[in-house]
Symmetry: C2
């Protein structure tokens, strides 16, 4: 059996792509806010229900541009979760700012506003919530806290494309929402990023931040980097916009199949099901309580790997395990932060339209074998 | 006549591109150091005569990754020239470092090591020289200074792809050389960047810096961002590598034609011709001395524009004219920095294989008309 990975990029047909590339080649306008790029920005703003949608070369470049657009001064502290992809913390550090970590809620695994409150100092300038695995943060809680303390509220919405909570688009939460459109994402542009906001005044600042601050041939207005998306990547984005909902439907069905299997095993816990949430279906994450299940997350990972199924211990290591942040405190309501206990229990399964019934069956078999072996030992 | 711009991207045929894209689509490995990416890195290292060539998503991302790889701490000062594209200074600022400006040599217009020396403080951590318009910096002078003061020496070689001085590749100068492969460059990958170095020990640090510091599934070793080049852009790069020398030949002939015209006009000064230099032929830059020629750089720019030829007042504004750095001192040997006098005299002409004999003729006519009008006025 061919190896199966956690993610597989949704790609348009090369024939369709060629029609768009022929347009690009005809004008030779290949980057720098070209026609396809601009069409994609409009289409995304409409699809996500926000007035402003700005494209970037990557989700990380978008995070950096968000901090530049907000003019966050070097040395300022930005509070975020340690349970995230390295990009979140590293983008903060790479901007000359300091990431400060706050604990997660034990049910949603998203940043806990009460922990954030404990991490606030006079140097704090912003909070970045992360909608991990598509689970939506406590936006009302974070917004109330940030408003009270005069802090910017950003979301790393890399996992929450086209998600909604109580009818509110994930793109319309906080001051800025930052998406990744990397190949591993439900909706992808190969490499790409997006910032959305309800605030039209942010639009120009974001545009300046991604294009060196250049306002005109005669004026450089602010600090900016190269955060531009090329026409090649925008072409992929325009085509994938037509098919990602179909991919999401497939994943939704797959979630049901995985859920049915793991609910048979004590000690395996499904991802939080949030009321009123339209899930992005970015990841299928499960938690393994080894004392109850009888084997650890790492055991399941290893056994699946033997069958050529590559799950992912995601997120692990967490930020405070990296060389760069080791020993950094995690503000928490507990003596031992929740995230420390949880981090070795998380496993993401292959979750895309390349997952076939035989793969799901193998997953079920592996769990049964492991559970049976544990019973035999007892 | 169709408008003519300073740059026009060198592009492969879509048929050729499709052969490579079919390879990519077959494996679905579309980014994250894919096969085409790795082939391109090897090809560039060989072509440029260096042991290490690392690809990036853009020249600016490459600059940021260079500073991350060198672990330059926020607050440190990096000395560079004010006569450069915004990316040079902004990449420094966006990393939380401070750009400090030093004056240029009046002949080569590259940063003057004697001016750099005056700008050094105890906070200085690095110097970034810029090979403007393909003119190579005083590398021995800068290297001696940086060695004496224990500073990193970087080059912004965005204009100096495949250039050589005295047989030494521009890719082998300083500690790190940073190239842009943006669409406007002689050799382009649509959007792209490259770092080259003679030091094999830098290779892993650069790789980590562009991929979130991720060393393995289990280890995040250093601070990094997303500086990855996709397979789509790498495909364009592989194909353009076969044709850029032909484009450079065309430009070399065009330089001869422009040179012949402007040498007829007192007050028009050619770009410094450097002995022993293989020019990148990135730009054709001329200087306009208005008192002698009888009209200014801006006058020529405006007159060419009327004829649908779009030259570029490049670099103008200079960094110390931007809102972000206005009033920043320029360390200089002169009371008034050379760069202040020079900045309003620089004009870059359309310089690529799309420039036809009729365009060159119009350029000559415009200059003749302007010179005649000035004589009539005298």
């Amino acid at each position: 059996m061919a190896p199966l990975y956690v993610a597989r990029p949704l790609l348009p047909s090369l024939d369709e792509l060629n029609v768009l590339l022929a347009e690009v080649w005809a004008t030779k306008w290949v980057t720098n806010e070209g026609p396809l790029h601009n069409r994609l920005e409009s289409a995304l703003a409409e699809r996500l229900g926000v007035p402003v949608a700005r494209l970037f070369s990557s989700g990380t470049a978008a995070l950096q541009c968000a901090m530049l657009a907000l003019d966050l001064k070097p040395g300022g502290e930005v509070i975020t979760t340690p349970l995230t992809f390295p990009a979140t913390a590293h983008a903060i550090t790479a901007c000359g700012l300091k990431p400060v970590f706050a604990d997660i809620d034990p049910d949603t695994l998203t940043i806990d506003p009460r922990a954030v409150e404990r991490a606030i100092t006079r140097h704090t300038v912003a909070v970045i919530g992360v909608h991990v695995y598509g689970t939506i943060c406590d936006d009302p809680g974070l917004q109330a806290l940030c408003s009270a303390h005069g802090l910017w509220l950003l979301y790393d919405a890399a996992h929450a494309f086209a998600a909604e909570k109580a009818g509110i688009s994930s793109a319309a939460m906080g001051d800025l929402s930052v998406f990744s459109m990397h190949a591993t994402k439900l909706y992808n542009t190969i490499e790409g990023g997006l910032i959305t906001t309800r605030d039209p005044a942010m639009s120009e600042r974001l545009q300046l931040a991604r294009n060196f601050g250049i306002a005109s041939e005669e004026e450089v207005k602010s600090v900016g980097i190269n955060g531009k998306m090329s026409e090649l990547h925008a072409a992929v984005g325009l085509l994938n916009l037509k098919t990602f909902e179909q991919e999401r439907d497939t994943r939704r069905r797959l979630r049901g199949q995985y859920d049915a299997i793991i609910s048979q095993f004590p000690g395996l816990i499904k991802q939080a099901h949030q009321r009123d949430v339209l899930q992005s279906e970015q990841y299928y994450m499960l938690r393994v309580e080894p004392d109850t299940f009888g084997a650890s997350r790492d055991d399941i990972y290893a056994r699946l790997k033997e069958r050529n199924i590559f799950s992912r211990r995601y997120f692990w290591p967490i930020c405070t395990d990296y060389d760069s942040y080791r020993g950094a405190p995690v503000a928490s309501l507990q003596a031992e932060p929740v995230v420390e206990r949880i981090k070795t229990t998380l496993l993401c399964l292959p979750f895309h339209s390349g997952v076939e019934p035989k793969h799901v069956q193998i997953f079920g078999e592996v769990l049964e074998e492991m559970a049976a072996a544990c019973l035999a030992t007892v």
